[in-house]
């Protein structure tokens, strides 16, 4: 592992924010940290960039000059123009003669260069934030929920920026609440209440679901049991033993199913998809 968290535990007083969390960040690779609100994603990322000190475990990261970080708040100045924001970031990172124009083109904001940061749409603000973090060509790019609350088109463009950075050799770590975005990374880490539920490639996590997952078309409104969850118009069920209830047909679990099975397994204290072959 080049950069990343290795068995990191973070405590805030008596509260454990992260428990033995490993998040690798490899050059040219995208690691997606997926979890709900309060799962510990931000603490993970803040730990990675050095804003939070781990109580246990190891954190490896490049020098500060080689890190690009976008906090969940965006970290841009709303009362500076797009161009001024980029110029400030370039100068802070000590980049002389930074090609602000090229970055404006890259993030698709060339037409808005004189607009104030606060006057940009949510999606444009996020793209500018990513541009600020990329201006110095970092070795490690860390993005905290860059796509939350962003329209689907902007989200696609943001992911194109992320992929572009990785293609250029940067190690990227992205936090998100959207499970489907985990598929965009070479590696996903599912986080819940500060613990890793599953880790590996999205396909690997899905394939590693123990037991069987079944589907039933929509019936009555009540949830049939503890191992059931709604998916679209129908129900899904997880059977740890592999014996599916009557009236259900077996399906191949995807990452959504795997995330829920992992949470169910964690509740019961049994092994979820994180165990076994999915660990690469």
């Amino acid at each position: 592992m080049r950069w990343g968290l290795d068995g990191v535990t973070v405590r805030f007083g008596s509260r454990v924010a992260l428990a033995d969390v490993t998040v690798p960040a490899e050059p040219s690779g995208v690691t997606v940290v997926v979890g709900g609100d309060g799962a510990g994603k931000s603490t993970c990322l803040r730990c990675l960039v050095g804003l939070v000190r781990p109580d246990e475990g190891r954190v490896s990261r490049p020098a500060k000059t080689r890190i690009g970080y976008v906090p969940a708040t965006g970290g841009l100045y709303t009362d500076l123009t797009v161009e001024e924001n980029l110029a400030f970031a370039a100068s802070s990172y000590g980049v002389r003669g930074a090609d602000v124009g090229a970055m404006l083109d890259r993030v698709g904001l060339a037409g808005a260069r004189d607009r104030l940061g606060g006057r940009l749409s949510g999606g444009m603000q996020r793209k500018l934030s990513v541009g600020l973090a990329l201006i110095h060509g970092p070795d490690l790019l860390v993005l905290d929920e860059p796509t939350t609350g962003v329209d689907p088109v902007s989200r696609m463009e943001l992911w194109r920026l992320v992929s572009g950075a990785a293609a250029g050799g940067t190690a990227v770590v992205v936090a998100t609440t959207y499970v489907n975005e985990a598929e965009r990374g070479a590696r996903a880490v599912l986080l819940d209440e500060g613990r890793v539920l599953a880790s590996g490639s999205a396909a690997g996590i899905a394939a590693g679901v123990p037991g069987a997952v079944g589907r039933r078309a929509a019936g009555d409104g009540a949830r049939p049991g503890d191992e059931w969850w709604r998916r679209g118009a129908g129900w899904r069920v997880w059977s740890p033993s592999g014996d599916l209830p009557e009236g259900t047909e077996a399906v191949r679990p995807d990452l959504h199913d795997a995330a829920i099975v992992a949470a169910l397994a964690a509740e019961r204290g049994t092994g979820g998809p994180s165990t076994g072959s999915t660990e690469e």
Partner: protein
């Protein structure tokens, strides 16, 4: 409506600072106005010199408080006493008559002295009164040097704290902490622009005071500038310090006003220190504006040389080192990567986790 009332009380209960301000402020104002807000002068430090000094001193009554009797002294000695602030009134008792010198920068004391002299027929009848430094006893002459200090305190404390808190609220402070900037780059970079704005403000006040009110500038500009720089360091430090304990701009303004109000009321800017009750006056001596008001009046009106101002200058320097030092330490912790968070407010950390 009951729902609104309940909600409002719940919110108020959680906003401890506003609650404290609502309770503490009226009490503070009552105490300050009760004990400090007074224009009545009870004691006027008076020096009596010249051959007839002993007799003249014996004839002085309250509010004159004779601090020095020197039959061998002359008018030059009397002027020196006033110039160095050792006396507000000086009597020169010569065989051919009595002359009285007064310190016009001590407006209320000088006015009280004039009234007392006029009442006392023996002295007032034959005495020749000269008011030094502020012959017209104009209020604007003593207010402008003091207001210069107040403006510096305002820019230094309120505007600076807002500027830093804005970064915290917008989340850009976190971004700055990750950038390869040294804590001092960030603090210095935040302070320097406000420092320059305050310097422009100060120049404007002095120039406008001179043009509109004819306020003189008798002293050395360099000494005035030195005093202003030291005072600004204290107020900028207070601004940064306030920002480190405030989560939003509202809290920062609240705290900044709580530091400005006592300075406005207790620094001698409006009410003379000599009129304040001793129990309140000690607060004045820990307020930076007290020393800047004294210094700027002395330099602008009296032309006091640096030798007569070492006390306010040294005290401002000490306050500056203490306040700015504390501010930098606290601010560094905000910026120090992986900094020790052990004594952070738990409520703040909860939001960090989310």
């Amino acid at each position: 409506m009951w729902a609104m009332v309940t909600k409002e009380f719940r919110q108020l209960r959680r906003d401890r600072r506003t609650l404290a301000m609502m309770i503490v402020l009226p009490v503070l104002l009552l105490v300050v106005f009760g004990y400090a807000a007074s224009f009545n002068v009870h004691d006027i430090p008076t020096a009596v010199v010249g051959p007839g000094a002993s007799r003249a001193a014996a004839s002085l009554h309250s509010p004159f408080e004779v601090t020095r009797v020197d039959p061998g002294g002359d008018e030059a000695a009397a002027r020196s006493d006033i110039a160095h602030g050792r006396a507000v009134v000086a009597l020169v008792a010569r065989p051919d008559g009595l002359s009285v010198l007064m310190d016009g920068t001590q407006l209320f004391s000088a006015q009280a002295a004039q009234t007392a002299l006029a009442r006392s027929g023996r002295l007032g009848g034959s005495a020749h009164v000269t008011v030094l430094y502020n012959p017209g006893l104009k209020t604007s002459w003593i207010m402008v040097p003091g207001l210069a200090g107040l403006i510096l305190a305002f820019v230094g404390t309120v505007i600076t704290s807002l500027g830093v808190v804005r970064e915290r609220q917008a989340g850009t402070l976190e971004q700055l902490a990750v950038m390869p900037l040294r804590p001092w780059d960030v603090i210095g970079g935040k302070i320097v622009p406000y420092f320059l704005v305050a310097a422009v403000d100060l120049t404007a006040i002095v120039v406008i005071g001179r043009l509109l009110f004819g306020v003189p500038f008798a002293g050395n500009v360099a000494i005035f500038a030195l005093g202003a720089v030291l005072f600004l360091l204290v107020t900028l430090g207070m601004g940064v310090l306030i920002s480190t304990v405030s989560q939003n701009q509202g809290q920062a303004i609240q705290l900044a006003l709580m530091t400005l109000l006592p300075q406005i009321l207790l620094s001698g800017l409006i009410f003379p220190l000599s009129s304040m009750a001793a129990g309140v006056r000690w607060i004045s001596y820990v307020l930076p504006l007290t020393y800047f008001v004294r210094l700027s009046r002395a330099v602008m009106l009296k032309g006091t040389p640096i030798t007569g101002l070492w006390q306010p200058l040294v005290l401002l320097a000490l306050l500056g080192v203490a306040v700015l030092g504390l501010a930098v330490l606290r601010f560094r912790r905000d910026l120090a990567p992986g900094g020790d968070e052990s004594d952070d407010d738990p409520a703040v950390r909860e939001s960090v986790i989310a």
